[in-house]
Subunit: 347 residues, 2 copies
Amino acid sequence: MVEFVGVSDIVALVGRFGVEAILTEMADYIEADYRRWPEFEKTPRLASHSSDGVIELMPASDGKLFSFKYVNGHPKNTAVGLQTVTAFGVLSDVDTGYPVFMSEMTLLTALRTAAMSALAAKLLARPESRTMAIIGLGAQSEFQALAFKTILGIKAVKAFDTDPAAARKFAANMAESGIEVEIAADAASAVLGVDIVTTVTADKAKATILSDNMIGAGIHINAVGGDCPGKTELQADILMRGKVFVELTEQTRIEGEIQQMPADFPVTELWEVIAGAAEGRNSSDQITIFDSVGFAIEDFSALRLLRDLARRAGLDRSIDLVANPADPRDLFGLLRADAPEALPVGA
Amino acid sequence: MVEFVGVSDIVALVGRFGVEAILTEMADYIEADYRRWPEFEKTPRLASHSSDGVIELMPASDGKLFSFKYVNGHPKNTAVGLQTVTAFGVLSDVDTGYPVFMSEMTLLTALRTAAMSALAAKLLARPESRTMAIIGLGAQSEFQALAFKTILGIKAVKAFDTDPAAARKFAANMAESGIEVEIAADAASAVLGVDIVTTVTADKAKATILSDNMIGAGIHINAVGGDCPGKTELQADILMRGKVFVELTEQTRIEGEIQQMPADFPVTELWEVIAGAAEGRNSSDQITIFDSVGFAIEDFSALRLLRDLARRAGLDRSIDLVANPADPRDLFGLLRADAPEALPVGA
C-alpha cells in the first residue's frame, strides 16, 4: 500500500496546522534541501508541449528518496472553469524503487512556490522590507501574501490585476489575514514605493508586466510568472540593471526571464547563497531579481514535509497502487481465484 | 476526481474477462497504436540510476491523450521478498492537462510485455511455430506462455530456470492452461528443436543466456530480459547471424541486446513492419530477433485498454487527486472552513 494524501486530506491538514505555520516550515524544509544541493541528482524537467499548454514530469533524488511531480500549465483552462495548473507527486524509496507516498500537489505547489519566493526574498531583499506589490491576483496570489507576511514580516500589500473580479477575490480572501491590502489602479501605482514586487501573471506570452522605469533602486523582484518558453514578465533592461538569482541555471535559461538574454548572461544560483558559496545582495541600492521557474528539489522538500505532517496528524489513508505477491516471482499467482491478495474491488 | 484502478481492481477485471482474452485485446490495442506510430511524441525514458536499480518515467502522447508510467527495476529486491519491477501509470487529457485515469501497472506491465512479445512473434516467427522455450521463470514467464498460446497457437513450452523452485512455480501455475509444459535441465536442452525462444532472465549483468551454437536456422528469439544498460542475454554472434527488430532504435541502442554492437548495426523498427513500410522475416531459414526493452507507447495502449475494461465492467472507483475549486483562480478559497470542497479526511 502507498500512503495517500488527497485534496480533502491536505485541506484538513492545512486546517489543523494553519497556512502560515506550514509556509514557515516549508521554507525551512526547502532551505535544508537547498543547502545540500550537490547531493541531489538534478535533471531538467521532461516537458510535453501542445498548442494550449504543457505537461511536465519533474524528478529529483538525493540517493535515498526519489520524487517526481506531474504538473500541467494550460492558461486557457480558466475560461472553461478549470485551473491553469494542477499537480500531483510521489516519493519513492531509492533502495527498492517502491513508491511509498502519493499526494495531490495543486495546493501543495501553491504552498511551496510561495514558501520558495519568501525564502529567496529573506536572503535577497533588504532586511527592513515591509511592503510588497503583487501583480497578478490568480490562484497563487494569496499564498504569496501570507508567505511574505509570516516569513519576512511584510505588513502591507498593494495588489493589481487586469480583472477587477480577481482583485475583489484577493481582497476578500485577505480580509482577516492581518495584512493591509490596497487594490491598485494599475501596475505602475502598485509598485510605487514598495520594497518587494512579486509578478505572478498567467498569460502564455512575452509580456511587459514591469518596465524599467517602474523599478527604483534597492527593490527586490520576485518574478514567478515567467516560467516557460515564450512566457516572460520583465523588460530586459531590468535584468541588465539588477543582479539575477536562479534555481537551476540550465532550466532557467530556457524557461525564465533570462530566456530574453544571451546564453552567457551572468546569474547566481540561489543554493550557493544558502550554502554560503556566493554573495546575495551587494548593497542596499542594488536591484535583486529572483527569476523563479520552480525546481524539482522544492517539490521533493514539499512532499517530505507533507508526509511528515500527515504522520503527525495521524492520517491513515492509502491506495493499493503496488501489487504485493507473497512470492515476488509469482506475480501470476495474484490472478488465481484463491489468492489472498485478490481483494474485492473497492476494498 | 481521477478514475482509479488499484491492484484489487485489476485482479477483479482479469477474473471477469480472463487473462487470455485480455492478452489478445492488448495485442490489438498495441498493434493499432504502433500502426499510427508517426502520430506519437516519442521520448526516451527518463531514468534515475542507483547502485541497486533504476527508477524510470516513460511518457508518450498522441496529441489527445498523454500517458506516463513510473517503473522501477531492482534485481536484488526478490532476495528481501519484494518484486524486481513495480509500476503505476496515468492517462491525461492533452487539451486541459488534467490527469483522468490512474492505475497500478505491475500486473498491467506483465500483461502488456507478454502481449507485445506475442504480437512481434506473430509478425516475425514462422507461421507454423507451435513450440517455445522460456529461459527465466520469474514474474513474467506465465504471462509469456499464455500470450504465445492464445495469440500464436503455441502448444508446448520447454522451460528452464537456474532455480528449481521457480520452475516448480511455473509448472504449477500452467497446470490447467492447456499448454504442454516440460521443465528442462538446462538452457541448451530447453531450446533444442523449438520454434521460438523467449529469454526473460532478471540478472543485472552482461550474461550469455543464449550462445550462438544453441540457435538453429529459422528460430525466432524474443529477447525480453536485456532491458537496461549493462544487462544483456544474447551472445553478439547471434545478433550478427539474425535480423534484429526493435521498438525505438535510439532507446534500444542504450538498453537492449544491441548495446553490444556498433552504433550503426542495422535494425528494423517493428512499427514499420506493422505499417507495411518494412519487411519482417525474409525466409524460413532466417533467425529473427525481437530485441525488446519495452516502450512507452505500449504502456499508453495498455492504459487505454484498462480504462475501457474498467468502464465495460462498471468499475466506479476514483481518488481526489485534483483540486477542483468552484472559481479556478480561487484555489485559496478551498482552505476556507466553509468551502464545500473541503470534505472530511477519507471522504
